[in-house]
Symmetry: C2
Subunit: 390 residues, 2 copies
DNA sequence: ATACTTAATTTATTAGTAAAACAAAGTTTT
DNA sequence: AAAACTTTGTTTTACTAATAAATTAAGTAT
């Protein structure tokens, strides 16, 4: 039980002030006071602390609205930097961002061998490369986050990453040994969900499910603005809920798992026979075919979309979320998936859900997994050092 | 954004003190100070307010442990009373409880006609009957809660109760007109989940799913100790997630819904042909048959249990909860359901989930729906009048 | 030039927790 | 049984943070 004291009050209010400056800047002290209801004096005092801590800058006077000009405040997004890495099965994509999530630098390495030690070394080099590009600033690098396609427990241990063939892998320890900053290892879909919630399409939603459809299907669950990790850290394994209770056996033990019908893997399996002479039937190839009007491919996309819709219906019935965001590789298929999904929603969802659900595809120009991973460190930084997150 | 001030601090601490007295009583001021970390003076001051508000009583001196005897404190559970009603399709069961959830009085009425006005009048009479039994006390009746088998929106409107044939029913308004206390209308499974979390088998779990298996299947989702209601208040409709994506059409619009295979309705449908001469094949009859060793009935129970296990597997994969509690009518089948469910878990769940999940059947001697409905009012009472719930 | 407006700081007040001193009521030691 | 110690709970004092009111600063409107 955490008791309350004046320090708590100050943390709360300081956090509110900072978050207002972050999201509404340029903003004056007077405006903050009006918006938050905090007394002008309180705002002034908290702002001056934030300025001393280099988290806020005075950027110059604003326009007068009939009286003294307000001094406009800016969030000093360059007070520190953070690294986020999206670790895939055959790539690792890293970003260096400022405290607002702006990408300062990015880099990608190709992974050809998923051997633990090789990948570890590649991740270390990728991080070092980005660290070397970190501009001089008061707080330096505040943390490194990595999104991994596997199950991560509450201690950050990678319990199982099927497509990497990893079991009980201690990436966190390895990174901590090499870099003296907080390390966050999180499931790729949870990181993606967080990225969408903080910086992406999910900012306005309190309850959203980010459905990561790649080789398999995972998800990140945001409930009341907060990532829900589950009791042991492995919530959201929705790729393995059964939509055919006695369907094909899945390696997970279950039968008829959703991802057997709706993932990139399922799509490739389904379409490969259409191109017996083509060695390299991959997603880009299929998209090209669809764009060229190949009816069989378009039909395959539609069928996958229908199965995706069936699974999403289950999610909506379970969570009653405001929004579902489709992420990862199959988000590229938006033009072909949106219709069948909406069609299934219309057929299968109760009317009460139909009105309240928004379907969004991730903006692939931003990597929400890498950004979300980076954002974890920013929150830890504020929570431990300066202000509480409200 | 709710800012912090000293009032907030006091609310938090007062709530902590009260909750310690509620759960640990008899307890002295000194002990509370030690347990909470609050200063002795702070505890004294907060306790004296609680005593003035009749929420806490000094019950006499305790045993000395080498010095002055401590004055033991008790939560005054009789400071107020609350009513909770479990509204079923053919019954309404009401309890009058004290502020600790002890049942003071209970009553049940039979519902033969689900016509809105008739049921409303029955509920009003049931509540009045319990009110008449309310002992004299400082706060009187602090609220009435009703758990309804249907979808309730955030404003307490019953959008749809299929088995009552209700659409857009304003029970809350009706009760408010007749009783001048806060009225809470909530879905039956959500109320049950809350009851289990506050008073029942789920007290120790932060993340739990209460699965109400009756005519249909609903659920209440507790996430981080809090009931998750969903964006429009209708989360947890897990009876309508599809486990046979192209299975039988369900009235909800979806196909192959879980409850078509796993509910009491499914069980009765499956077993009725076994007893062509029996007019009244109901749950009690089937249980009697199973107890008498009828292999066909036992087999039917096992099959239903398997389907329940398949659905629960989906839930575990999705939520990674600490605990699943089976509630409502089919909880009576625990002796026949536990094995097939555990069997399915063993076959279908990933090992990481197997360790962390506890399966519990509700204690049918307590009605968690009625108790949970009653508890809603207690929380509202403390939140609005005295202390915040922490 | 004077009166109004708005912004931000300074000063005084208030509310709540905490630390220390104290009072109350015991037990243990001699 | 007196003295010394313990534990409980209250009182006194100090401190911190928010707020209200007064003040200073820097404009605009007429």
């Amino acid at each position: 039980m955490k008791t309350g004291d004046q320090g708590l009050v100050k943390k709360i209010n300081k956090s509110i002030v900072l978050s207002n400056i972050q999201t509404q800047s340029p903003i004056s002290r007077a405006q903050i006071s009006k918006v938050t209801g905090l007394n002008k004096a309180t705002v002034s005092s908290l702002v001056s602390e934030l300025i001393e801590e280099h988290l806020v800058d005075e950027i110059g006077a604003g326009l007068s609205s009939g009286g003294r000009k307000p001094m406009m405040l800016f969030f000093n997004q360059n007070a520190g930097y953070t690294i986020g890495i999206d670790l895939g099965v055959n790539y690792a994509f890293g970003v260096l961002t400022d405290l607002k999530g702006n990408v300062i630098q990015q880099d990608e390495v190709v992974i050809t061998d998923t051997d633990e030690e090789i990948v570890f070394a590649q991740l270390k080099d990728l991080a070092q490369l980005l660290i070397d590009k970190t501009p001089a600033c008061p707080y330096g690098l505040v943390g490194i986050g990595i999104g991994v396609p596997g199950m991560i427990n509450n201690e950050g241990v990678i319990l199982f990453a099927p497509n990497m063939d990893w079991h009980n892998v201690h990436l966190k320890q390895y990174m901590e040994q090499h870099f003296n900053v907080p390390i966050t290892i999180e499931n790729e879909a949870k990181a993606g969900a967080h990225g969408e919630k903080i910086y992406g399409a999910g900012r306005a939603s309190s309850n959203l499910i980010y459905v990561s459809i790649g080789i398999g299907i995972g998800s990140g669950i945001i409930i009341e603005d907060k990532l829900y990790k589950g009791t042991s850290g492995i919530s959201g394994e929705i790729g393995h809920f059964s939509i055919e209770s006695n369907g094909r056996k899945c390696p997970c033990g279950n039968k008829g798992c959703w991802e057997l019908y709706s993932s990139e893997h399922a799509l490739l399996e389904k379409t490969a026979p259409l191109f017996p002479n083509e060695k390299n039937v991959n997603l880009s190839f299929l998209i090209q075919q669809a764009e060229d009007g190949n009816p069989q491919v378009i039909n395959a996309f539609d069928q996958i979309g229908e199965y995706i819709g069936i699974g999403l219906t289950n999610i909506v019935n379970t969570f009653n979320p405001e929004q579902i965001i489709i992420g990862n590789r199959l988000a590229r298929l938006e033009p072909w998936l949106r219709n069948p999904i909406q069609r299934v929603f219309k057929q299968r969802l109760l009317p009460y859900f139909q009105d309240s659900i928004a379907l969004t595809f991730t903006d692939r120009s931003k990597n929400s997994c890498a950004l979300g991973s980076a954002a974890f460190s920013i929150e830890k930084f504020f929570a431990t050092n300066k202000v509480t997150v409200v």
